[in-house]
């Protein structure tokens, strides 16, 4: 050991001054808040601005989704403000970083609801995040909550509206297509958490109803990166379709090992329902050739409004980084959520929770990413267009469009 470091360390360990300095720095950081931003109202109104709280993962592993979500929210709010706000009042956006961490999230969301007194909260990407913050918002917070991400369904809490696709929307059109264009023998390799478990329940029923068969359904630890055993089983069992819910970081190695074993060469079909434009970077183009996905939006669908929205996003952000506006990151649900809420507030003529929730129950927008959308009364979920896309040479080709698919949730 180095002796002089040992002594200097001991001196420092008992230094009260250093302890005090650190404590002051920490309390300063806590008081001002590190991951908070306010985008103030552009004009004033007698009733004050309408406050929109956005709580999403700007840092940590889920930031790939949270960053575009926050940007799309800002874009939608700026557009609404440019058109004169809602009920003559400007919107003020309160953005909080939930840091991909549920404990942090509960704290910052409480701040949004109790201190900033926002009129609505939009955000959360993972289901565990939604479950962590929903009571803080709709229960004790008595505030409206809109959750934007595609997810496993079954969220039927009053005053909580979900604007992303449900299992029915992602499977009803896709599964029959996979059976017709892949085969009947399915494997469901999955990450071991709530979304794959519940989605697979729906997918299995849909596969069996359409004359297919689930030969293999397996769950893996979330961080598993070696899939030799699974790939061997898929090859030995002569699986036709791999309906994947393994997520990154395991996803890349899994698809690669499957390719190396000759699954695609043998005519196997890959499918994964969260695959959007971000996922095109996950593997080499030949490793994911023919992969079929089903989402509410792809960048190359034929819809002028969506193209305009994408262009507006890219104009602001494309030169800065590679964070994309896609469906798999919850960004489309975020735009839809803000606009549906706008429609509801306009109809209600007020911002109090009960009036807005009552109007939101049947809210409609004529334009959104992927097309029009509306909340199906009594379901807390959206009806929307769904698209099947297939990866070809590193790009998506839109194969099929299903109009206004029902979410089939909550009754």
């Amino acid at each position: 050991m180095n002796d002089h470091t040992k002594y200097s360390l001991t001196d420092k360990q008992f230094s009260r001054r250093i302890l005090l300095q650190n404590a002051m720095w920490m309390s300063g950081a806590i008081a001002t808040g590190i991951g908070s931003w306010v985008f103030p109202a552009k004009w004033s109104h007698a009733a004050g601005p309408i406050k929109v709280g956005i709580a999403t993962d700007l840092t940590g592993p889920i930031s790939f989704g949270g960053i575009p979500c926050s940007r799309v929210a800002k874009l939608a709010i700026d557009q609404i403000n440019a058109d004169g706000g809602i009920l003559g009042r400007p919107l003020e956006m309160y953005l909080e970083d939930t840091a991909s961490n549920e404990q942090i999230a509960v704290g910052v969301v409480r701040k949004l609801v109790q201190r900033n007194r926002v009129d609505v909260v939009l955000g959360g990407i993972t289901s565990s995040m939604r479950n962590a913050i929903k009571d803080v918002i709709v229960g004790r917070g008595r505030t409206l909550y809109i959750y934007p991400q595609l997810y496993e369904g079954r969220e039927c809490t009053p005053n909580l509206f979900c604007t992303g696709p449900t299992p029915a929307q992602q499977c009803d059109d896709l599964i029959p297509w996979l059976i017709a264009n892949g085969g009947k023998r399915f494997a469901l390799p999955s990450a071991n958490y709530v979304w794959p478990h519940v989605l697979n329940e729906y997918a299995r029923k849909s596969i069996e109803d359409n004359g297919g068969e689930v030969v293999l359904e397996e769950y893996y630890p979330l961080d598993q990166v070696e899939y030799g055993a699974t790939v061997k089983r898929i090859m030995d069992e002569k699986i036709d379709v791999v309906f994947n819910t393994v997520i990154p970081p395991g996803l890349g190695p899994f698809i690669k090992q499957l390719y190396e074993a000759g699954f695609l060469k043998r005519g196997g079909r890959l499918s994964c329902v969260y695959y959007d434009e971000n996922a095109l970077n996950f593997n080499a183009a030949e490793e994911m050739e023919g992969l079929a996905s089903c989402l509410d939006y792809f960048q190359n669908i034929d819809d002028p409004f969506s193209a305009k929205l994408q262009a507006a996003y890219q104009k602001i952000h494309a030169h800065k980084d590679k964070v994309l506006f896609t469906a798999g990151s919850g960004s489309t649900g975020m735009y839809r959520g803000v606009k549906l809420w706008e429609a509801a507030v306009k109809e209600a003529g007020a911002v109090d929770r009960d009036s807005v929730a009552a109007a939101l129950d049947h809210a409609k927008i004529a334009n959104g990413p992927g097309g029009p959308s509306n909340i199906v009364p009594g379901t807390y979920h959206c009806q929307m267009n769904m698209y099947i896309a297939v990866a070809k040479a590193g790009k998506y080709e839109i194969i099929d469009k299903a109009d206004q698919v029902h979410p089939k949730e909550c009754g």
Binding site: N2, L9, F64, I67, E218, Y219, N281
Partner: protein
């Protein structure tokens, strides 16, 4: 026959990855008594170096060669400025290296926009012999592991540098009295451990998804491997890494993958309980 070969090859490949990942961790833990919680992020930096070579359009092989040097420099700078202050307090050292790891990880996350990215293999394609086909880069990874283990072993056991490193570990006071600058030896050893992590990162990145949390996954199993092999020797870490790697990739062929994940820890903990100082320990305790 073909199936059996594929199983053996897959297990061998993942075992090599685990050995590569554990070596640097083992060197630093054994030679310096520091549990380096930033090890995963050193692996990440190795991968990031290769990623930069990829996006700059430079030959990827140069990236593989450059990664250990880049990470070694980072390691030496960190050792000179920060880590050396922790030698007197191993617990503080753990927390300190953890903090360094978080800073590196979040910085890289910012640089790559938090995305999951692909870095292609320097050697693309498959070797095909009859019915058997194996990825060229996986074969290269296995061969490079054998090479790295051999060179590191010779360096630490057959050279005068290795002798001085071991002398500084065994008895720092006597080493200093004999004219060895233990402080410089510590810096060199830390740099060497970091270089091994950097090389591991560069080699495994094309087989994984490159992302900020890439290294995190290996650190817990890595520590288990070091404890299993025994702190104090280079060979111990390699054997520990091999055992953990073989179990983690071999068990899913026999049992449910979730159970296999738990079993790796159970078996390792039982082994550590039976041989508390590790399978190949020479630690002075």
């Amino acid at each position: 026959m073909e199936g059996a070969f594929q199983i053996i090859f897959n297990v061998l490949c993942y075992t090599s990855i685990m050995i590569l990942v554990v070596l640097g961790l083992g060197v630093i833990a054994s030679m310096m008594g520091i549990f380096n919680f930033a090890h995963g992020e050193f692996i990440l930096l190795g991968g990031y170096t290769l990623y930069l070579f990829h996006i700059w359009g430079l030959p990827l092989w140069f990236g593989i060669v450059a990664a250990p040097f880049v990470v070694a420099i980072v390691g030496v700078v960190l050792e000179r400025t920060i880590i050396r202050r922790f030698y007197a307090a191993p617990i503080v050292a753990m927390l300190g290296t953890y903090a360094i790891g978080v800073i590196i990880r979040e910085t890289v996350r910012g640089l790559i926009d938090g995305l999951y990215l692909r870095v292609p293999e320097p050697l693309v394609g498959m070797f095909v012999v009859g019915d058997i086909s194996v990825s060229k880069w996986r074969v290269a990874a296995i061969l490079m592991t054998i090479l790295v283990v051999t060179i590191s072993y010779l360096l630490l056991n057959r050279t005068s540098f290795g002798l001085r490193v071991r002398a500084s570990l065994e008895n720092p006071e006597l080493a200093r009295a004999s004219g060895i600058s233990t402080s410089r030896i510590y810096a060199a050893t830390f740099g060497f451990g970091a270089a091994l992590a950097g090389l591991a990162g560069a080699i495994i990145t094309p087989l994984m998804m490159f992302n900020a949390d890439m290294g995190l996954r290996f650190v817990i199993q890595g520590f288990l491997a070091v404890m299993l092999g025994g702190i104090g020797t280079f060979e111990g870490s390699a054997v520990g890494g091999a055992l953990i790697g073989a179990m983690a990739s071999g068990l899913p062929y026999m049992v449910n993958p979730i159970l296999a994940d738990v079993l790796v820890f159970v078996v390792a903990i039982v082994l550590v309980k039976l041989k508390p100082s590790g399978l190949l320990s020479k630690w002075r305790a």
